[in-house]
Symmetry: C2
Subunit: 277 residues, 2 copies
């Protein structure tokens, strides 16, 4: 039996319930794979973690929770939409256990609809991360972000990150993250993503967003232009990870983008596979 | 371990490839259940049956093929869209093996998106069948069909049928089916369905179409009126079987009804679970 794929999640209590749906979609679409889930958090209730552990156990996944000392961030700005937990993906190399060599970080508003093996096994060469830059809305935004953050590369979305934990553990200093967030937090538009780009963008391998981190709004009317050959048929066959970016979320009753239908189905299938909560 | 649910399918070579997707959707949405598939056919190639048997074996389903003597129907009218195989569901009681007590017949253009256990275990009382009458387009059509076929009940859709094989075996005469199809075939609008309603409608328990046989076009613009509380959220949580009725099929690239997205996803997931063909 092969070693499990290691998944990295980081949620607060508001987003915890969506982990079930994400993991259900990952397991259904990756038959024959095993998964170990590292859950970084600040203050989840022990009972909530135990319940999730039991639920994930029903689909054969092992949960490994890790509490992060929130004092390390000092007065870094957070909000309901941007809790401290969003920074934890950047700390993974320094706080994950030593036997963890590589993890795939996934935002809790992603959904897996095809095998992720090709990303898990990607050759990172001398990069420490792999991430996608969202194609849309426009290239103009990428240029603006380069100026704003002083970067040379395209602006990466930090919702899906493959991390070479073993290499990053020895090459990166976690104090960079604490310091950047404390000092620059107030000036950041999307704090986690800006920090990722500013600190680690240079060490990142770009992967196609249409396969590994598709903005689920892209099938909406005015986004669809300029997508070329990428239509619903292409997406169903080729896209592995959908990302439900933006304020509207597919677990809201009135979410209206087309791909939300798949999320709603997996959310319901989760109840069949793990029981209701 | 509980006894398997027994599924009845009947396809010609053109529809055979869609059985994989249907069975994949059934297995994924019914964890912990086992399935035995009775496949009634006229002239499928042995190689095609063996390939399907191997594919279904990969998701834990047993295939039991049964060839029907096509001479029994004489000169009954058929076409590419309405092949002789569509009548075979009506013969199931007389040709399925004696140890088969109950089967769930499914059209090859259906998709399962929730557990079917509650239908499989339904109390049929003294009925021989359970079937749904499609709510839409209008009740007017039901009245027209009553006059046309000389029936008293609503017009049932024969795409999803629960059949009490044990009781029907002793109470129905298969010659009724052969005779009806030979004599009336040319005057029937939807031959399989008309024959089912005329011959067996009186012995049928009505079940809700919104749960057990939802016309997938119902989410289209002009069908959606009059559906009351039934929206996309209700359907994802409550509907167990989608039926992609009509000439347009969700395996066509340009199929445009919303629920076709789920079909396309399961069609692709089938390749992941069973391999490409």
């Amino acid at each position: 039996m092969s070693a499990p794929m290691e998944i990295l999640l980081s949620v607060d209590s508001a987003y915890l319930k969506h982990v079930r749906t994400l993991m259900c979609s990952l397991v259904v679409n990756n038959p024959g794979e095993r998964f170990k889930v590292h859950l970084l958090h600040q203050s989840l209730a022990p009972g909530a973690i135990e319940a999730l552990s039991a639920d994930l156990g029903r689909i054969g996944c092992e949960l490994s929770p890790l509490q992060v000392d929130s004092a390390l961030f000092g007065s870094a700005p957070t909000s309901k939409r941007y809790p401290q937990e969003m920074y934890y993906r950047l700390l993974a190399p320094s706080i994950l256990p030593k036997d963890c060599k590589r993890v795939l970080y996934l935002d809790p508003d992603t959904l897996v609809i095809n095998p992720v093996g090709p990303l898990w096994n990607i050759n990172l060469e001398d990069h420490l991360f792999a991430a996608a830059a969202h194609t849309l809305p426009t290239e103009l935004l990428h240029e603006a972000n380069k100026v704003r953050l002083g970067t040379e590369h395209r602006y990466y979305n930090s919702g899906v990150l493959l991390i070479d934990v073993a290499a990053a553990r020895s090459q990166l200093d976690p104090r960079d993250v604490f310091g950047y967030v404390r000092e620059r937090g107030n000036t950041l538009l999307l704090p986690d993503q800006d920090a990722f780009n500013a600190l680690y963008g240079k060490r990142t391998l770009e992967i196609p967003d249409t396969v590994w981190n598709l903005d689920a709004r892209m099938l909406g009317m005015h986004y669809a232009r300029g997508m070329g050959e990428i239509d619903i048929n292409w997406i169903m066959e080729n896209t592995a990870i959908l990302h439900f970016c933006g304020k509207e979320k597919p677990w809201h009753k009135r979410y209206h983008y087309r791909l939300g239908l798949l999320y709603k189905h997996y959310r319901n299938l989760t109840k069949t596979l793990m029981g209701k909560r």
